[in-house]
Symmetry: D3
Subunit: 242 residues, 6 copies
């Protein structure tokens, strides 16, 4: 196996740090740092729903994801300048939305829309999985605050959620790839799982190679283990409240 930065073994996560209420006016905001990847995740709620949900009594949750131009090693042009949201961004924000909706009781929030804003301050691999892991914490904090304020009777979450990447780099399986590893990977997978160890999303992609059944299975093991650690961390932060 190629040596990993910081002497990580294949199944080690990078160091994780969560700063709660990073934005002083928004209880549902967290700064999540996973190694050198840094995102600001902020949850907010508005009193309206998309038209397909009007008069259903159900709410909605949607996510937006964006990279600051200098979050990357090379400056990334702003999507607001081109006037178009690119395919990668669309793909990622749809993934974040689906993942968090899977554990949210949308009937319990009634006709309101939750926004999960995930802005990448520094990108060093794993930004979409960090957005899910951090977005869940932001969401939980938003709901906790709403309960405190009497706007919700119970926390409308059915489980914890975390996400992690796994990959095959030069033939070796590795958990939680950083940018350097990711750019050399033959196979790149993202797993989203619940606190009960069930799958919400499994996405595996091979551009320059393919993978077999045995590798799929081994990557799944690695991911399940990593997510267990992430969720343990989430439990520590959020406690028994949810």
């Amino acid at each position: 196996m190629p040596e990993r930065k910081g002497n990580r073994s294949a199944g080690d996560l990078r160091e994780l740090k969560i700063t709660h209420k990073y934005l002083s006016h928004h209880p549902g905001s967290v700064l999540i740092e996973i190694g050198e990847t840094i995102l600001l995740c902020a949850a907010s709620i508005e009193e309206r729903v998309p038209s397909f949900l009007k008069n259903t009594g159900r709410g909605w949750l949607t996510a937006e994801y964006s990279m600051l131009p200098m979050s990357s090693r090379t400056r990334v042009p702003r999507e607001a300048v081109s006037g178009k949201i690119g395919g990668r961004t669309h793909e990622i924000q749809r993934l974040i939305g689906r993942s968090l909706r899977a554990v949210t009781n949308l009937a319990a929030i009634s006709e309101r829309t939750v926004y999960i804003d995930c802005d990448v301050i520094q990108a060093d691999g794993g930004t979409r999985t960090a957005a899910i892991t951090g977005g869940f914490i932001a969401l939980a904090h938003l709901f906790l605050e709403m309960k405190r304020e009497g706007k919700l009777a119970t926390i409308p979450l059915t489980d914890f959620v975390s996400a992690v990447s796994v990959g095959i780099v030069n033939g070796s399986l590795m958990l939680d790839l950083d940018y350097q590893e990711d750019s050399q990977a033959e196979v790149d997978m993202n797993f989203v799982m619940t606190g009960r160890g069930r799958f919400i999303e499994v996405q595996g992609t091979a551009e320059n190679a393919t993978f077999d059944r045995q590798q799929l299975s081994a990557m799944t093991d690695l991911a399940a283990n990593g997510i267990e650690n992430l969720i343990r961390y989430q439990r520590e932060i959020l406690g028994d409240a949810i």
Copy 2:
């Protein structure tokens, strides 16, 4: 298990029909019909590459996917009218592109771009997987024609590719979901695999439920079997030529 239309068993594909050279001026065009799902897949090539490939000697392959407004039961507004390509379309055309690039020797086509146009004439579930299965045949025919014309020395394909969906509907696992089944599914997975039985893409999504390790494994079995049949069919059409 709920009864399936046409008395299909859980592991049965729908009927598959390929009309080659559906467009009389384009050898790389096929009409693919999978049950009531109908797509026109057409491969073409242009003498230029995206800027990130200029002077690399390598080519590119990109896919575009679109639904005709009346392909669906309810009219779908045109993306050209709104002026924006939606997230679902982006996601699908990126998937088709990655899947076909995985078996294309891009160095062998030199600085040219292959376009795979996938236009849905009638949508009855599984349009994205049909686009990959049909797109591969269109691509192979384009290359065969180019070889015939002396524009290529060999067929720059390293393997066959097919794709299929699998899902869990009311607790039952099923292969190749039609629209009716898909709209009731708890879990929806898409697999893209090669002629050698290796994975290119694995995408599983749960919006209203989650799934466990055993179900993931069973869905993988079902898909692998379905894809084997699709590739057998592709081999019959394309023969030993590639």
Copy 3:
């Protein structure tokens, strides 16, 4: 006169073929083939009108026209990708809409909007006139179905409509130009006429030449004759129902 493909004489139409209910869920859908030109025309109706018709009790009919990227000999980029609908498309869809509105009793459909979707599968000249001829059949079938379902008391059509092109190619007048002829034409005219032989639209354009009164008159004769044949064909399909 230059020899025409298929030994057509100057006043001959190309072979015409209509496949009704091409889309299995849409009674108002037809595949129209005129020589090698192939379009899918589909009529549908929605329960709303543009704002300028609100509370007037009147309905509306609008048309959308699009070429599939590979319908042409050379790939045509998608308008959804550029995000802008081009001038030619605008011009054509306005023409289709005006032509069909001229025989539709918009008061009789009340505040509903009919969409006529015309998608060019293969373009070999005369796509805009084929869209009108085929669009009318799709529209009639939609109304017939609505009457059958009790949603309309009578068929809200006041007459038949067909359209045809005429041109001057190397000094010779010709009916129903194919792509080859069209690209060499000095003058290109499109006529839209009713079953009673009256004009709805007359559009003549000369880019590389001009034409005189006598030629205008002769082209009008040729078109009137061609449209009579098209409408005879429409009557056969639609019968006395309308």
Copy 4:
């Protein structure tokens, strides 16, 4: 026949006034007033051509048309605000461009592009035909100036061009409709003709009625006569220079 404003008879043009060099820095600019319709037409030239003409030695001519928001009785929103050029605008500017290209020797201007900007200051019917009639004068003045400056050896125009509208209003045929007449017309036709009395464009449209062969012929007579007068006026202004 309904009485016409200013006691015009059916075949009378409205009063025409041309102010040459309305913009002090642009010799190819004219203010054209036809009754209460006022347009600013300005011709300019740039040292480049659209990509399809590169290395052909031929030039291009294109027209842009726009209505000032308050040119109409009711304020018209700016197309720059919506970010989209509407179908009517597209249709009109394509018509102006085709009409003026029909008499311009594009090979003689070499690889340059002429822009004809037609901005409607006040709209009282007939803006598109005024744009052609006025645009031609602007174009001729631009070429005259270029010849004066030695940038052109001869005036690259092959003929004069004018345009006029004709219509059927409450059953009566009329030349050069004003807004009031136009809004009540059953049939609206626009003719573009040359100084030699030949046709460049014939466009007839019926939305609420249809018309027959005899009416088409009578409208053509009326238009031919009107255009003869417009061209006589153009000759007076431009003299023998072209």
Copy 5:
């Protein structure tokens, strides 16, 4: 000091000419000519307000500014063609809007929106200040007409408004810069002031030089004097009516 065109001294305005009711259907329209700078300013009112004012009982005033493509010495591409309103246009129309809102009693017009359309016919420096000076006259005329028609009880204006530019050209201070002077200026300032001599907007910009406190003060003197003259002229036109 460099000699100024027309022998103007440093503190002289260019000749000013106002043509009221330039558009025959719009009482609130004026053509303003300041030297060779020509704008059409037109005020209109609509029965609705932006959403942030709904149910507040207050109205709004907004301005739109645009340059005709040939208003400049070199053709300026239309913003409608690019589909985007540029930064300079945004900046100017916001300035016009703020300036006129500062003297308009928005509560007195109730929930209606005033549009001030400022279209530059010929640009020779000072178009934004001319838009404010002329826009105010258009606005006053609109209100006078509305009062005449009984739609307003009193004129909802609290003061007069005019604007002027000042600059430093080759070290010399000058009032009301024309294009030639503006393009050589080291410092460019725009002042918007009321009839009572109070400031609404002060905007000074230095791109190629900087300026000191003493120069700021001298430019302010020059502007205050120029505006006094402009307002005297406005008073002559509008009289005691407002």
Copy 6:
């Protein structure tokens, strides 16, 4: 005078904190905190210039400004989602660009473009002036790094730059307004000044009130004093290096 948060007197700045190299891969990046206003300013350089500078040997500097959706008390929709950059954003990024170009020797950087990205993480008033003050430090650090790497012979800056806001709140003049103060201000001014105490930009705006000469002068004093303090701080950070 109304009491200010943190017991600030009228002429006091809020607390200022600069974190250099906030982004680990970009030496020209700073996090600037002014009270509760937090921005990330990052300078970068690319090897190309806008077309109007090609072959002039001169470089360019441009700024982009954006607010994260949750930087404000109420969520601000992303401009990338609407596809349009709003007027306020345009105005601000043009101001930042002009201010920094005023002290940059663009000839000395040759044909390269400097980007100043200013992203607002938390907005509590004064974001545009913070962007200028922080953007200058980012720019200086970028140039220092380029000199260190031998890409520049000297630091191409001619002076220091800082910016500050001043306003009149309930009749009292105040320096460096926070959001609360700004939202109640009758007059809002922004000053951009150099290390030598000269003006680059002066912008004063009154929406609900007007101001007189004496107030303009007093606001200028307050600003000049505040900027002196900001520049002292910049000198401490950047030292004699520039």
